[in-house]
Symmetry: C2
Subunit: 190 residues, 2 copies
DNA sequence: GACTCGATGTTTACAGTGCTCACATTATCG
DNA sequence: CGATAATGTGAGCACTGTAAACATCGAGTC
């Protein structure tokens, strides 16, 4: 974890960990089966810290505004600890790691409870999935620079705006406009 | 690209590319400055293929249902070509790579045009961000096994359900309590 | 045609990595 | 106290990214 905070994810190696611990390069293999096991262990810790971080933003959100503040916290976590976040989510998950599955299940349950509390009338399962995905996607798009993140507060504003936008969209009683598709104007160019 | 499809992202190395090309280990350096440059080039191709893939799902969506079909396509792309998708989004983006920024800008514009067409009355910018994030998040959560993906059609169903759930949520009349800023004041450590 | 020069490829080399194995040390507990 | 499990060590292998010096080859010019 120290290495991650100091020098990012590329600096993380079993050998570097060994050096930091003042121990021979092979020693870590007594504690972690392989590199992936180390990653899983770190990720598990990360999930727990993420849960605490979110709870600190709001222990039990029950309004869209409170939900938004937790969403902002999620994105902030990703941006403040990018290396950790990438290890938590940017790799194929080792599904055999119990610690790891338990921790992610906890996050998942937490999101579901928020969804249920905030929108009791909705399909909680689907809504929870959607909310987690929305927030998770925002985090990654910012992390990858697909969305500009000039200042933390600008990010916070855009996150809340995005959530606001989705929640306030009223389903247009879809009568497809007779004129129909404005010629390929919106097709993906490139 | 061949290497990616055949053996996943871990099999991708400059040396492996050289071998595949029947050429010495140092030869690729005449074409790519370093490993990251190779990744960027691959990613740029990936963005273009993603754009085509989405356009194939629906050339210019203008209803929530059509939007959902494009969303499903996005997630499918991620699941069918995980290694490519991870290179496109799972690494810190090299912002100096022109090809790359252009391609992602195109995707971004594409999403915005969909948002605008489908929900003309909404804040297009924010909504586009939200939709992209939602879909992107779904893709990553599935990719990482945070959401179970038993069959492609089950995934498709859950993706549409998630979008449906978000779009049909009616906003409960919860007016922001006075004094609470909407940009997430109350979240820790900002 | 000879000649230059830029693009491309080759060789060799170095440092860092994951990982294994045989061996040493230490700690714990019966 | 001594057996035994836990932990650490060293050397070594195959692989990676990257660099530098050297070779080749092709297109265009005199």
């Amino acid at each position: 974890m120290e290495l991650l905070e100091e020098s990012g994810e590329t600096a993380l190696s079993l050998r570097a960990v060994a050096r930091r611990a003042g121990v021979s390069p092979a020693a870590p293999y007594r504690h972690y089966a392989d590199r992936q096991a180390l990653d899983s262990a770190i990720a598990a810790v990360g999930y727990r810290e993420l849960a605490e971080w979110l709870a600190a933003a709001h222990p039990s959100p029950s309004t869209p505004e409170q939900l938004a503040s937790v969403a902002v916290a999620y994105v902030q976590f990703a941006l403040e600890r990018p290396a950790l976040f990438r290890i938590m989510f940017g790799e194929s998950c080792d599904r055999d790691n119990d610690e790891r599955v338990a921790a992610t299940a906890a996050v998942s349950a937490y999101v579901r409870s928020i969804a249920q509390r905030t929108f009791p009338q909705a399909d909680a399962e689907a809504l929870a999935t959607a909310i987690w995905a929305l927030v998770h996607g925002l985090a990654f798009l910012y992390l990858d620079g697909k969305l500009d993140a000039p200042t933390p507060s600008a990010v916070a504003d855009r996150v809340t705006a995005a959530i606001q936008a989705l929640l306030t969209v009223t389903r247009p009683d879809a009568r497809p406009s007779p004129g129909e598709s404005r010629s390929g104007a919106g097709s993906p160019g490139v």
